[in-house]
Protein backbone atom coordinates (compact mmCIF):
# COMPACT_ATOMS: atom_id res chain seq x y z
CA UNK A 1 0.00 0.00 0.00
CA UNK A 2 1.49 3.32 -0.98
CA UNK A 3 1.28 6.34 1.30
CA UNK A 4 -0.21 8.93 -1.02
CA UNK A 5 -3.88 9.80 -0.67
CA UNK A 6 -6.12 11.64 -3.06
CA UNK A 7 -7.68 14.80 -1.71
CA UNK A 8 -11.12 16.41 -2.06
CA UNK A 9 -9.49 18.90 -4.40
CA UNK A 10 -8.20 16.17 -6.72
CA UNK A 11 -11.73 14.71 -6.98
CA UNK A 12 -13.10 18.11 -7.92
CA UNK A 13 -10.36 18.71 -10.50
CA UNK A 14 -11.06 15.24 -11.95
CA UNK A 15 -14.80 16.00 -12.22
CA UNK A 16 -14.14 19.42 -13.82
CA UNK A 17 -11.72 17.82 -16.30
CA UNK A 18 -14.32 15.18 -17.19
CA UNK A 19 -16.93 17.89 -17.84
CA UNK A 20 -14.49 19.94 -19.95
CA UNK A 21 -13.34 16.91 -21.95
CA UNK A 22 -16.98 15.90 -22.55
CA UNK A 23 -17.81 19.41 -23.75
CA UNK A 24 -14.76 19.46 -26.03
CA UNK A 25 -15.53 16.05 -27.58
CA UNK A 26 -19.12 17.25 -28.13
CA UNK A 27 -17.89 20.38 -29.92
CA UNK A 28 -15.27 18.39 -31.80
CA UNK A 29 -18.01 16.15 -33.22
CA UNK A 30 -19.20 19.17 -35.24
CA UNK A 31 -15.71 20.02 -36.52
CA UNK A 32 -14.74 18.99 -40.06
CA UNK A 33 -12.21 16.33 -39.08
CA UNK A 34 -13.08 13.83 -41.79
CA UNK A 35 -11.68 10.40 -40.99
CA UNK A 36 -10.10 11.52 -37.72
CA UNK A 37 -13.44 11.83 -35.90
CA UNK A 38 -13.46 8.27 -34.59
CA UNK A 39 -9.85 8.40 -33.45
CA UNK A 40 -10.29 11.76 -31.67
CA UNK A 41 -13.54 10.71 -29.97
CA UNK A 42 -12.15 7.38 -28.76
CA UNK A 43 -8.91 9.04 -27.61
CA UNK A 44 -10.81 11.60 -25.51
CA UNK A 45 -13.04 8.82 -24.13
CA UNK A 46 -9.87 6.93 -23.21
CA UNK A 47 -8.44 9.96 -21.38
CA UNK A 48 -11.74 10.37 -19.49
CA UNK A 49 -11.77 6.68 -18.57
CA UNK A 50 -8.16 7.06 -17.37
CA UNK A 51 -9.12 9.97 -15.10
CA UNK A 52 -12.01 7.98 -13.62
CA UNK A 53 -9.90 4.88 -13.05
CA UNK A 54 -6.92 6.76 -11.56
CA UNK A 55 -8.80 9.25 -9.38
CA UNK A 56 -12.38 8.09 -8.74
CA UNK A 57 -11.43 4.40 -8.59
CA UNK A 58 -8.26 5.30 -6.66
CA UNK A 59 -5.81 3.41 -8.85
CA UNK A 60 -3.40 6.32 -8.24
CA UNK A 61 -3.29 5.20 -4.60
CA UNK A 62 -2.60 1.56 -5.44
CA UNK A 63 0.65 -0.23 -6.25
CA UNK A 64 2.33 -0.37 -9.64
CA UNK A 65 1.50 -4.08 -9.95
CA UNK A 66 -2.22 -3.27 -10.00
CA UNK A 67 -1.64 -0.57 -12.60
CA UNK A 68 0.35 -3.04 -14.70
CA UNK A 69 -2.55 -5.53 -14.65
CA UNK A 70 -4.89 -2.86 -16.02
CA UNK A 71 -2.44 -1.74 -18.71
CA UNK A 72 -1.98 -5.36 -19.81
CA UNK A 73 -5.75 -5.86 -19.98
CA UNK A 74 -6.15 -2.71 -22.11
CA UNK A 75 -3.39 -3.93 -24.43
CA UNK A 76 -5.24 -7.24 -24.93
CA UNK A 77 -8.50 -5.37 -25.57
CA UNK A 78 -6.78 -3.14 -28.15
CA UNK A 79 -5.45 -6.25 -29.92
CA UNK A 80 -8.90 -7.87 -29.88
CA UNK A 81 -10.64 -4.80 -31.32
CA UNK A 82 -8.04 -3.81 -33.93
CA UNK A 83 -7.39 -7.34 -35.23
CA UNK A 84 -11.10 -8.14 -35.49
CA UNK A 85 -11.77 -4.84 -37.29
CA UNK A 86 -8.73 -5.37 -39.53
CA UNK A 87 -10.02 -8.81 -40.44
CA UNK A 88 -13.36 -7.41 -41.56
CA UNK A 89 -11.73 -4.46 -43.34
CA UNK A 90 -9.33 -6.60 -45.39
CA UNK A 91 -11.41 -9.71 -45.99
CA UNK A 92 -12.14 -9.01 -49.66
CA UNK A 93 -9.01 -7.05 -50.52
CA UNK A 94 -6.32 -9.63 -49.86
CA UNK A 95 -7.73 -12.44 -51.96
CA UNK A 96 -5.01 -14.44 -53.68
CA UNK A 97 -4.09 -12.86 -57.03
CA UNK A 98 -4.76 -14.99 -60.11
CA UNK A 99 -1.79 -17.23 -60.89
CA UNK A 100 -0.61 -17.39 -64.49
CA UNK A 101 1.32 -20.52 -65.31
CA UNK A 102 3.41 -22.32 -62.68
CA UNK A 103 4.17 -20.97 -59.19
Amino acid sequence: MSGKRLTARSYFVAWASLVLLSASTLLLSFAPLGGFHAGAAVLIAGIKAGIIVLVFMHLAEQSNVQRLALIFALLLLAILVTFTAADVATRHVTARPPVVGDR
Partner: protein, 210 residues
Protein backbone atom coordinates in the same frame (compact mmCIF):
# COMPACT_ATOMS: atom_id res chain seq x y z
CA UNK B 1 -13.55 1.29 14.63
CA UNK B 2 -16.51 -0.95 14.00
CA UNK B 3 -15.61 -4.15 15.82
CA UNK B 4 -18.06 -6.29 13.82
CA UNK B 5 -16.45 -5.32 10.51
CA UNK B 6 -13.48 -7.70 10.88
CA UNK B 7 -14.36 -11.28 9.94
CA UNK B 8 -12.89 -14.15 11.99
CA UNK B 9 -10.80 -15.57 9.15
CA UNK B 10 -8.72 -12.40 8.67
CA UNK B 11 -5.84 -11.34 10.92
CA UNK B 12 -6.55 -7.65 10.57
CA UNK B 13 -8.75 -5.16 8.73
CA UNK B 14 -5.94 -4.23 6.31
CA UNK B 15 -5.71 -7.76 4.93
CA UNK B 16 -9.48 -8.10 4.78
CA UNK B 17 -9.79 -4.83 2.86
CA UNK B 18 -7.02 -5.88 0.49
CA UNK B 19 -8.80 -9.17 -0.29
CA UNK B 20 -12.15 -7.44 -0.76
CA UNK B 21 -10.64 -4.86 -3.09
CA UNK B 22 -8.92 -7.55 -5.17
CA UNK B 23 -12.19 -9.46 -5.45
CA UNK B 24 -14.04 -6.35 -6.61
CA UNK B 25 -11.42 -5.57 -9.25
CA UNK B 26 -11.72 -9.15 -10.56
CA UNK B 27 -15.50 -8.71 -10.75
CA UNK B 28 -15.13 -5.39 -12.55
CA UNK B 29 -12.64 -7.06 -14.91
CA UNK B 30 -15.14 -9.80 -15.77
CA UNK B 31 -17.78 -7.14 -16.43
CA UNK B 32 -15.29 -5.34 -18.67
CA UNK B 33 -14.82 -8.59 -20.63
CA UNK B 34 -18.58 -8.80 -21.19
CA UNK B 35 -18.66 -5.29 -22.65
CA UNK B 36 -15.36 -5.76 -24.53
CA UNK B 37 -16.94 -8.46 -26.69
CA UNK B 38 -19.75 -6.05 -27.62
CA UNK B 39 -17.35 -3.18 -28.34
CA UNK B 40 -15.40 -5.53 -30.61
CA UNK B 41 -18.59 -6.46 -32.43
CA UNK B 42 -19.35 -2.75 -32.86
CA UNK B 43 -15.85 -2.10 -34.27
CA UNK B 44 -16.21 -4.97 -36.77
CA UNK B 45 -19.62 -3.82 -38.02
CA UNK B 46 -18.54 -0.16 -38.08
CA UNK B 47 -15.67 -1.16 -40.39
CA UNK B 48 -18.08 -3.19 -42.52
CA UNK B 49 -20.67 -0.36 -42.78
CA UNK B 50 -18.72 2.89 -42.12
CA UNK B 51 -21.09 5.28 -43.90
CA UNK B 52 -24.27 3.66 -42.62
CA UNK B 53 -23.07 3.65 -38.99
CA UNK B 54 -22.21 7.34 -39.18
CA UNK B 55 -25.57 8.19 -40.68
CA UNK B 56 -27.47 5.97 -38.21
CA UNK B 57 -25.73 7.70 -35.27
CA UNK B 58 -27.38 10.87 -36.58
CA UNK B 59 -30.75 9.32 -35.67
CA UNK B 60 -30.02 8.98 -31.94
CA UNK B 61 -30.79 12.00 -29.74
CA UNK B 62 -27.50 13.92 -29.35
CA UNK B 63 -28.94 16.36 -26.78
CA UNK B 64 -30.39 13.61 -24.56
CA UNK B 65 -27.26 11.49 -24.91
CA UNK B 66 -25.01 14.40 -23.97
CA UNK B 67 -27.13 15.35 -20.95
CA UNK B 68 -26.96 11.70 -19.84
CA UNK B 69 -23.15 11.88 -20.05
CA UNK B 70 -22.91 14.91 -17.76
CA UNK B 71 -25.51 13.43 -15.39
CA UNK B 72 -23.58 10.18 -15.00
CA UNK B 73 -20.18 11.88 -14.58
CA UNK B 74 -21.62 14.10 -11.85
CA UNK B 75 -23.21 11.12 -10.10
CA UNK B 76 -19.77 9.46 -10.04
CA UNK B 77 -18.39 12.61 -8.44
CA UNK B 78 -21.12 12.48 -5.77
CA UNK B 79 -20.20 8.85 -4.96
CA UNK B 80 -16.48 9.60 -4.64
CA UNK B 81 -17.30 12.68 -2.52
CA UNK B 82 -19.34 10.40 -0.25
CA UNK B 83 -16.41 8.02 0.15
CA UNK B 84 -14.09 10.97 0.81
CA UNK B 85 -16.47 12.25 3.50
CA UNK B 86 -16.41 8.84 5.20
CA UNK B 87 -12.62 8.66 5.01
CA UNK B 88 -12.32 12.01 6.75
CA UNK B 89 -14.82 11.06 9.40
CA UNK B 90 -17.61 13.35 8.20
CA UNK B 91 -20.04 10.45 8.25
CA UNK B 92 -23.16 12.61 8.28
CA UNK B 93 -22.50 13.66 4.70
CA UNK B 94 -22.25 10.15 3.24
CA UNK B 95 -25.95 9.25 2.93
CA UNK B 96 -27.02 12.61 1.37
CA UNK B 97 -24.23 12.39 -1.21
CA UNK B 98 -25.17 8.82 -2.09
CA UNK B 99 -28.82 9.92 -2.37
CA UNK B 100 -27.76 12.68 -4.78
CA UNK B 101 -25.86 10.11 -6.86
CA UNK B 102 -28.97 7.91 -6.89
CA UNK B 103 -31.16 10.81 -8.02
CA UNK B 104 -28.77 11.45 -10.91
CA UNK B 105 -28.65 7.74 -11.79
CA UNK B 106 -32.44 7.67 -11.81
CA UNK B 107 -32.50 10.77 -14.03
CA UNK B 108 -30.17 8.94 -16.41
CA UNK B 109 -32.58 5.99 -16.64
CA UNK B 110 -35.59 8.28 -17.16
CA UNK B 111 -33.81 10.09 -20.02
CA UNK B 112 -32.81 6.74 -21.53
CA UNK B 113 -36.44 5.64 -21.31
CA UNK B 114 -37.60 8.85 -22.99
CA UNK B 115 -35.15 8.25 -25.81
CA UNK B 116 -36.21 4.62 -26.26
CA UNK B 117 -39.85 5.79 -26.42
CA UNK B 118 -38.98 8.26 -29.20
CA UNK B 119 -37.22 5.45 -31.11
CA UNK B 120 -40.15 3.06 -30.69
CA UNK B 121 -42.50 5.70 -32.12
CA UNK B 122 -40.26 5.89 -35.22
CA UNK B 123 -40.32 2.11 -35.64
CA UNK B 124 -36.73 1.71 -34.48
CA UNK B 125 -36.77 -1.71 -32.80
CA UNK B 126 -33.90 -4.21 -32.43
CA UNK B 127 -33.26 -7.15 -34.74
CA UNK B 128 -35.98 -8.42 -37.05
CA UNK B 129 -38.54 -6.05 -35.52
CA UNK B 130 -36.68 -3.08 -37.02
CA UNK B 131 -38.99 -1.07 -39.28
CA UNK B 132 -37.58 2.47 -39.45
CA UNK B 133 -38.87 3.70 -42.80
CA UNK B 134 -36.43 6.61 -43.09
CA UNK B 135 -33.45 4.25 -43.00
CA UNK B 136 -34.41 0.71 -44.05
CA UNK B 137 -30.96 -0.86 -44.58
CA UNK B 138 -29.28 -3.93 -43.08
CA UNK B 139 -26.43 -1.82 -41.70
CA UNK B 140 -28.84 0.52 -39.91
CA UNK B 141 -30.70 -2.48 -38.46
CA UNK B 142 -27.40 -3.85 -37.13
CA UNK B 143 -26.44 -0.43 -35.74
CA UNK B 144 -29.69 -0.11 -33.79
CA UNK B 145 -29.61 -3.73 -32.63
CA UNK B 146 -26.15 -3.09 -31.16
CA UNK B 147 -27.46 0.23 -29.80
CA UNK B 148 -30.29 -1.48 -27.91
CA UNK B 149 -28.11 -4.37 -26.72
CA UNK B 150 -25.24 -2.21 -25.47
CA UNK B 151 -27.20 0.73 -24.03
CA UNK B 152 -29.80 -1.71 -22.64
CA UNK B 153 -27.17 -3.84 -20.91
CA UNK B 154 -25.60 -0.64 -19.59
CA UNK B 155 -28.98 0.61 -18.34
CA UNK B 156 -29.45 -2.69 -16.47
CA UNK B 157 -26.10 -2.06 -14.81
CA UNK B 158 -27.22 1.46 -13.85
CA UNK B 159 -30.40 -0.02 -12.35
CA UNK B 160 -28.34 -2.57 -10.41
CA UNK B 161 -26.03 0.22 -9.27
CA UNK B 162 -29.01 2.19 -7.96
CA UNK B 163 -30.00 -0.77 -5.74
CA UNK B 164 -26.38 -1.01 -4.54
CA UNK B 165 -26.16 2.73 -3.80
CA UNK B 166 -29.49 2.55 -1.98
CA UNK B 167 -28.20 -0.25 0.25
CA UNK B 168 -24.99 1.71 0.94
CA UNK B 169 -26.93 4.90 1.74
CA UNK B 170 -29.10 2.90 4.16
CA UNK B 171 -26.02 1.43 5.86
CA UNK B 172 -24.43 4.89 6.00
CA UNK B 173 -27.54 6.28 7.72
CA UNK B 174 -27.21 3.50 10.29
CA UNK B 175 -23.72 4.77 11.04
CA UNK B 176 -21.96 1.66 9.72
CA UNK B 177 -19.10 3.54 8.05
CA UNK B 178 -16.41 5.74 9.58
CA UNK B 179 -12.86 6.95 8.91
CA UNK B 180 -11.43 3.48 9.64
CA UNK B 181 -14.00 1.18 8.05
CA UNK B 182 -15.66 2.12 4.74
CA UNK B 183 -14.74 -0.79 2.44
CA UNK B 184 -18.31 -1.40 1.14
CA UNK B 185 -18.49 2.27 0.11
CA UNK B 186 -15.20 1.97 -1.73
CA UNK B 187 -16.22 -1.24 -3.53
CA UNK B 188 -19.71 0.05 -4.41
CA UNK B 189 -18.02 3.15 -5.80
CA UNK B 190 -15.75 0.99 -7.97
CA UNK B 191 -18.83 -0.59 -9.56
CA UNK B 192 -20.59 2.73 -10.13
CA UNK B 193 -17.50 4.32 -11.70
CA UNK B 194 -17.06 1.28 -13.95
CA UNK B 195 -20.63 1.74 -15.21
CA UNK B 196 -19.74 5.40 -15.84
CA UNK B 197 -16.65 4.39 -17.86
CA UNK B 198 -18.78 2.13 -20.10
CA UNK B 199 -21.14 5.03 -20.89
CA UNK B 200 -18.15 7.27 -21.65
CA UNK B 201 -17.40 4.93 -24.56
CA UNK B 202 -21.03 4.31 -25.57
CA UNK B 203 -21.67 8.06 -25.92
CA UNK B 204 -19.19 8.72 -28.77
CA UNK B 205 -19.92 5.41 -30.51
CA UNK B 206 -23.70 5.84 -30.68
CA UNK B 207 -24.18 9.63 -30.54
CA UNK B 208 -21.09 11.62 -31.54
CA UNK B 209 -19.63 9.70 -34.51
CA UNK B 210 -22.23 10.81 -37.01
Amino acid sequence: MKTDALQAHYEDLGKQTHAARLGMWIFVGSEALLFSALFTLYAAYRVAYPGTFGEAAGHTDLLLGSIMTFVLITSSYAVVAGLDAARRGRTGRVAPLLAAAMALGLAFLVLKGVEYTIHFRDGIFPGRFYRFEAFPTDGARIFFTLYYFMTGLHALHVAGGLVLLGALAWLARQGRFDAVYHTPLELGGLYWHFVDVIWIFLWPLFYLLR
